[in-house]
Amino acid sequence: MILKVLNVGKSFNGLIVLEDVSFELETGTITSLFGENGSGKTTLFHIISGFLPPSRGKIYFKGESIYDKPATEIDKLGIGRTWQFPRVFKNLSVLDNLLLASKKHPGEHVLNYLVNPFKIWQEEKKRKEKAVRISYDVGLSDKLEEAAGRLSFGQQKLLSIGMLLINEAELLLLDEPFAGLNVIMVDAISKLLLQLKEEGKTILMIEHDRKKAKAISDKVLYLTKGIIREDVGVA
């Protein structure tokens, strides 16, 4: 088991958004999270990824409590997320977006330029090679120098997933990966997600297109009135 969410609740000024949410995710599986608009799906993502503190409950990632950890720490543990509207760095190239998402680059720390500048450029070269490899995986190898803001909506979603891959996320929280995409793009992302599952990544995705999501999911969660209901073995 990679993620365990136990009795998590969230309320805003007395308004209860999540009542009592509990579920577990197994490593190397795809789980879809369905629910009406406003049912608290994105709030749950914010809580797991550390952007919002829960009002109560416990969350464990690989056995470690992440209940009170901020987003920057949770990322370091191996949980990555995308957003409903892709949050790519729009003025930067696809290559720079991928490099910016990579973890623990020595060139991000000023003192390393004084202590060991050579290591920075060695690492930069390695990461560029990795970024190029990932750009092939997500089908953006011919767009490396293009500004992310100029990519289509679907390509930006692919780039977001590529950024999670170079970030070495083990658990990918994907917020509506198929929304607003044409059939070709949906197929491309479905294939990519199945490939990631084969590589051992765990995926939890919010989706409204139940047919498409169920087709690739091992498990489906329904979030209704702040409570989770679970269906197993849908794929």
């Binding site: 952007f51 990322d75 760095f89």
Partner: protein, 289 residues
């Protein structure tokens, strides 16, 4: 010849200031209205160390840079707790506070009378006291600053500055703390502003608070906006545009009684045209939304 050398030196001081401002506004998305405060503090600390402590120019400049780094902490605090327009307003307040201190702390700054008799810089017994030698010296300093920024903007660190500018939430979701990168952008920018301040002080041999007011901060921002945010050549072009344009307008024969006002009006109209028809400036890669 002396006129052109004078213009060259003024251009160079503003190029350094525009480059420092560009790191904040163009690369890190921090619209600071306190750049003249750091420019002024750099000038005053350099001048005081030269005239009162009798230090050499290089040590005075080093002292000014260190002092500016320490005094950057209010801006770092604003940047970590405030965003966008609120950050700009906080820096505006800081600029006003620094101006008030320069005008009123007479025991140290000599108030509105300023500091006179600031010696010219010298190295190894050679003093840059003639205009050609000072122009060579300031060109060398400006070139060094320019090369520093060209190098900086090729590093992974600069990519992080751009990331902070584009999307702070996304930066956090990739485990990066925006406040860390903002702090370094502010530190570097204020340190470089001290260099411009030191050059200004030794070039004119006299400083007073009127050179470091809010108007000056706005002028520096305009240079960066007109030249283009996020582009080094934009900062250089913006500084040249703002320093050279009034000089060019001097050659238009206008009656002396209205010359200054007409020149300023032409200057303002040209600026409006640039902003309307080139919102990214001359070479900009980014614009404030």
């Amino acid at each position: 010849m002396n006129y052109f050398l004078h213009i060259l030196i003024v251009c160079e001081i503003y190029i350094i200031l525009a480059l420092a401002m560009n790191l904040l506004a163009g690369y890190s998305g921090l619209l600071s209205l306190a750049q003249a405060a750091y420019y002024g503090i750099g000038a005053y600390v350099s001048a005081l160390l030269l005239t009162q402590a009798g230090l050499s120019f290089s040590l005075s400049l080093l002292g000014a840079i260190c002092f500016n780094l320490i005094i950057s902490f209010p801006i770092i605090w604003f940047a970590s707790s405030l965003r966008d327009l609120y950050f700009a307003i906080a820096t505006l307040a800081w600029q006003i506070i620094v101006s008030a201190i320069l005008y009123n702390w007479q025991a140290v700054t000599n108030g509105p009378f300023g500091i006179m008799g600031i010696p010219k810089p010298g190295f190894g017994g050679f003093v840059f006291d003639s205009l050609p030698s000072f122009a060579s010296f300031s060109s060398l300093v400006t070139l060094s600053v320019l090369l520093f920024f060209i190098g900086l903007h090729r590093t992974p660190l600069s990519r992080c500055f751009l990331g902070v500018r584009d999307d702070q939430l996304a930066m956090m979701s990739f485990g990066k703390k925006p406040s860390y990168f903002k702090s370094w952008a502010i530190l570097i920018s204020s340190g470089v502003s001290a260099i411009a301040g030191g050059l200004f002080a030794v070039y004119f041999s006299y400083i007073d608070p009127s050179s470091f007011t809010l108007d000056e901060s706005i002028l520096i921002i305009c240079m960066v906006l007109v030249g283009g945010l996020g582009a080094i050549r934009g900062s250089v072009a913006g500084a040249l545009f703002y320093v050279l344009l009034p000089e060019v307008l001097r050659f238009i024969h206008i009656p002396d009684s209205i010359a200054a006002n007409v020149r300023m009006m032409i200057y303002a109209v040209l600026l409006i045209l640039v902003v309307m028809y080139r919102p990214y400036g001359f070479f900009g890669k980014y614009t404030f939304e």
